[in-house]
Symmetry: C2
């Protein structure tokens, strides 16, 4: 595929959300349009003690073990870490963070604070995950993901002074409405519309853009106020409109589109106390089914079963290789790890492992007094910048309390080859578009300190005077996190044929994880992939028995 | 003012939020542009026991008494009802509702449920109210006011089948973007833009509207899915786009604009357990300063003080007229009530009382199992319809619990003259635009049962099969609620000269309440109006002493 074509698909994928590249490929005739069927619901078939070994105790592995356990299977989960959840990881006081390149950090937050280093949001359409929270008694609260009071900042807009998101959104709409009304008035759509439709369209645009009687956009109260309404005689005065040209220069659209992607839309939820309340709730039901500190090394299968060799490490010095046999295996580890294992996969699987690409998302968390609430009326939501650190997120846990956690950066970062164990994570600048370009700038910063400085600088740009209030940083770079080596399978990589291969068993080995679903980068994809595997296994033992 | 002019201002006021009529009048040269100064902050001056009698224990009266009390004033609040809060009223099991026309209802909700019959939302920009919640220890939670999963319904759209709000929002944007891109391509804006700007504008529109490579809008994942993304091979398929003509016919814009009005924007809050937690928190600090069951009848003032006669009713049969004297009076009752009193106001005040108009908002609440969550992923937010009952609101308290309160209707209702004690509430159909036209239809329904039926019908239209699940209705019609006789001063009525009069003392009488502010229909306006009066009183005793 030509670079242009590929970039185009990539852009469509980013602007429209995951999977729009698929749809586009379909509409371009690059893929056969499959029959329109929804996911099959989970059907549990009595396993009668059939043994399943599940590799990886992330959401996919936990869901598989939990449901198969209900259905009378005999399950073992091998999990390399000493905790459940995989990418679902909440960092608190005392958490040790170690990168593959040897970088070490220890979290020094105050006791009540947590930082969801991986997943932080549950969309209201993710019924499977919400259902598990309900079933397992994980208490949820509303997660506020967008706020019109959050800021947007570009050196090219408003002289570099941040503006509230409501100004970008509504001034853009005002300008677009004015321009279209003007064209219609000029007769540019006379061939396409009846007179009556034109009039209705113009009346609509007047409201849509809050245009003045001459159909000009001269600012709107929707964009907030220079002088807010009060109880004195003074009437409120709206902000002056931002110029369309500056808005185009600033290119802050991604931040305004996010809330139109169904999965980033209100109403979103979060477990009270940290996202890891979910895997811990699963783990408490699974108990001894999970073996922690069990690092899978070798995978072999025969006509009658699978044999897994793993290294069990109780402490730092004690490690021993162990063997486990089972009838079936569910491989729910990231492909970046799977490809490093000694395994007798089919050539089809091997070729996927050889070519797959993962992204490396990073997040930086700080502890700080809640100046964003007190001074800017920002309670939750995300500010966007065109800077090395291009996003500042205000987690909505414990709103109104004294201090909070601030996410000073969350984006896909360029990972230089020399620091990365997973060479496929290295991507050239070319394939990145804004804001991933900022991810390239960020990823090229020489060291941890430079990255923290960039983060502090972005917070300072948005909240002048408060860069200095940031304390106890934690930087997570998922491409360098052992046992993950990436944040998710690259949206750019997605390929319907590969997906079909990953969704079919390699003899007795079934692949699970969000990377085997259309819901990449979401726990819902991981959970539903486990359901798919369970249905496949159920059908298999049913037809066998 | 001609009807057209007046309607135009009214529309501008509605589309842009309160006060945009003011701004428009200013920009049309109808009002002098005042100097741009923000509200003066509250300054407390030692009252040294100066006596203030405060008429009405709504938010304005409570704030006045609370702050003056801090400053060493001797305050008495006369409140006709047997509870504090006025319009801030949460209805629970056992609450008796009685209209001026004799209609009686008793609330039969389950114990944990409440219905905020008046205020239900605190915007994050209302620092005064949020500050009081903090100061008084009123616990807040996020109130979810809009959800793209909520529905929009018109008989003219999609064959009458409700569509998720995300479809209306994003399909509209898609069509607008396509039309403008087309005009630009045709050269309609060649005079206004450079070649480079045109290209940038088109690239922006492609993203803004999620247009296809030919710059046509053919649907978008932002509008949700026919086949949602899953973990099977099936790719997601977005909904088919709604036609622009149908969207124009349906005229559901108001519902989509609401979230662009700063005061209806995320992040919003609500007190946990009911909005009345706020007045009860004030009341617990004020204690015996408030006299309940004290209905003001007569107001007189001299050069040295004010004399108020009120009727004190302890029980139904015991009532006695009492007199209270004070140095100053703060009149914080609705003007619909004030005008019925025997009072020696100035001619300026009297002429305002003679002409003022109030709106009559209504709300209908039901108790029901949370089918909207379980079946439609709606957690909070508001659905809009073009029906007699044109709005269904899903309060976000206790999300995920078994049953909840559903608001089946909240709008401004036409109040026929014969049923209304306050004749100024009678407004003709002419002055109403959509959706107030629905308010006319609703208000013309013959009786309570017909109104409840209309409410049930709207819920049934949005959630087929669930009309029958609605139980224990409560209908509040603010124009018929004693001691309020209206929901708020009419946005249509607002008049800068009248406001100036109401903001100046009538000798020793000061007017407070949201109707004396630019923040009509919000507690923030009531609270800030109290601050203004306190500042005025402080300046007065300071210059006197
Ligand atoms: C930065 C970030 C933000 C995200 N945001 C969200 C969000 O807001 N909402 C949401 O729902 N989702 C979000 N996600 C996605 C979500 O985290 C994943 O979809 C989900 O957690 C994946 O689960 P999984 O079981 O497929 O994989 P993982 O969680 O990666 O589980 C794999 C498991 O395999 C184990 N393992 C690896 N190697 C070995 C080995 N050799 N031997 C034994 N075990 C091994 C790992 O320790 C791990 O426990 C986010 C992810 C990231 C990284
Ligand atoms: C349907 C509805 C929805 C609303 N939604 C919101 C919202 O979401 N958020 C928000 O912040 N605001 C909202 N408001 C507005 C808010 O309720 C008001 O702005 C605020 O409560 C007004 O306070 P007040 O003290 O000015 O008036 P009131 O609350 O009306 O107080 C007047 C007081 O005077 C008393 N009184 C009347 N007559 C007499 C008499 N003769 N003698 C003695 N006492 C008397 C009354 O009993 C009452 O207690 C809403 C209002 C309504 C009606």
């Amino acid at each position: 595929m030509s670079l242009t074509r590929r970039q185009f698909l990539l852009r469509a994928g980013q602007a429209g959300g995951y999977g729009s590249a698929f749809v586009l490929m379909q509409s371009l005739g690059l893929l056969p349009v499959p029959e329109a069927v929804a996911d099959s619901p989970l059907r549990l078939v009595d396993g009668k003690g059939t043994r399943a070994v599940i590799l990886g105790g992330g959401i996919a592995g936990l869901v598989a073990a939990y449901e198969l356990g209900k259905a009378g299977w005999s399950c073992t989960v091998l999990e390399a870490r000493h905790r459940p959840g995989g990418r679902n990881w909440s960092i608190r006081n005392g958490t040790e963070v170690e990168f593959t390149d040897g970088t070490r950090q220890t979290c020094a937050f105050e006791p009540d604070h947590y930082f969801n280093a991986g997943p932080a949001r549950l969309p209201s359409t993710h019924n499977t995950m919400l259902g598990y929270c309900h079933e397992l008694g994980v208490a949820l609260e509303v997660e506020v993901n967008s706020s019109r009071s959050a800021f947007m900042q570009s050196d090219k807009l408003n002289g570099g002074v941040p503006v509230a998101e409501r100004r970008v959104v509504n001034d853009t709409r005002g300008h677009v409405s004015e321009l279209l009304a003007k064209c219609i008035r000029k007769g540019a759509l006379d061939e396409d519309m009846t007179d009556a439709d034109r009039e209705r369209m113009i009346e609509f645009l007047r409201q849509y853009g809050d245009l003045n009687p001459d159909l000009l956009f001269r600012g709107t109260q929707r964009s907030g106020f220079k002088i807010p309404p009060g109880a004195d005689l003074q009437s409120p005065i709206p902000n002056d409109p931002l110029a369309m040209r500056e808005l185009l220069d600033a290119d802050l659209w991604l931040g305004t589109f996010v809330e139109e992607v169904p999965e980033w839309q209100a109403t979103m939820f979060q477990p009270i106390g940290g996202m890891d309340r979910i895997p811990f709730a699963f783990a408490s039901r699974l108990d001894s089914v999970i073996r922690y500190g069990a690092q899978v090394k070798r995978i072999r299968q025969s006509d009658s079963g699978v044999t897994i060799i793993y290294r069990e490490s109780a402490g730092a010095d004690q490690a021993a290789d162990r063997t486990i046999e089972a009838d079936y295996c569910i491989c729910a580890m990231p492909l970046t790890v799977v490809r490093t294992l000694d395994a007798d996969f089919s050539p089809q699987i091997r070729s996927i492992l050889d070519t797959v690409q993962y992204d490396s998302a990073y997040k930086i968390a700080w502890e700080a007094p809640r100046f964003w609430e007190k001074e800017s009326n920002i309670y939750g939501g995300i500010s966007y910048l065109q800077q090395a650190v291009d996003l500042v997120w205000y987690p909505s846990a414990r709103i109104f309390s004294e201090k909070g956690i601030l996410i000073g950066g969350y984006s896909i970062e360029y990972l230089p080859a020399e620091t990365s164990a997973a060479s496929s994570l290295v991507r050239s600048d070319e394939t990145y578009r804004s804001p991933a370009r900022n991810g390239f700038t960020f990823g090229s910063l020489p060291n941890l300190q430079a990255k923290l400085d960039a983060s502090r600088r972005s917070v300072e740009l948005l909240h002048p005077g408060h860069g200095k209030d940031l304390a106890n940083p934690i930087y997570i770079s998922w491409g360098r996190i052992p046992y993950n080596l990436g944040s998710w399978i690259s949206f750019d990589w997605n390929d319907q044929r590969a997906l079909a291969t990953l969704q079919s068993p390699d003899r007795r080995i079934y692949f699970a994880g969000d990377h085997t679903s259309h819901i990449v980068g979401w726990q819902e994809g991981a959970a539903l992939s486990a359901h798919r595997v369970i249905n496949q296994l159920g059908a298999r033992i049913q037809s066998a028995g």
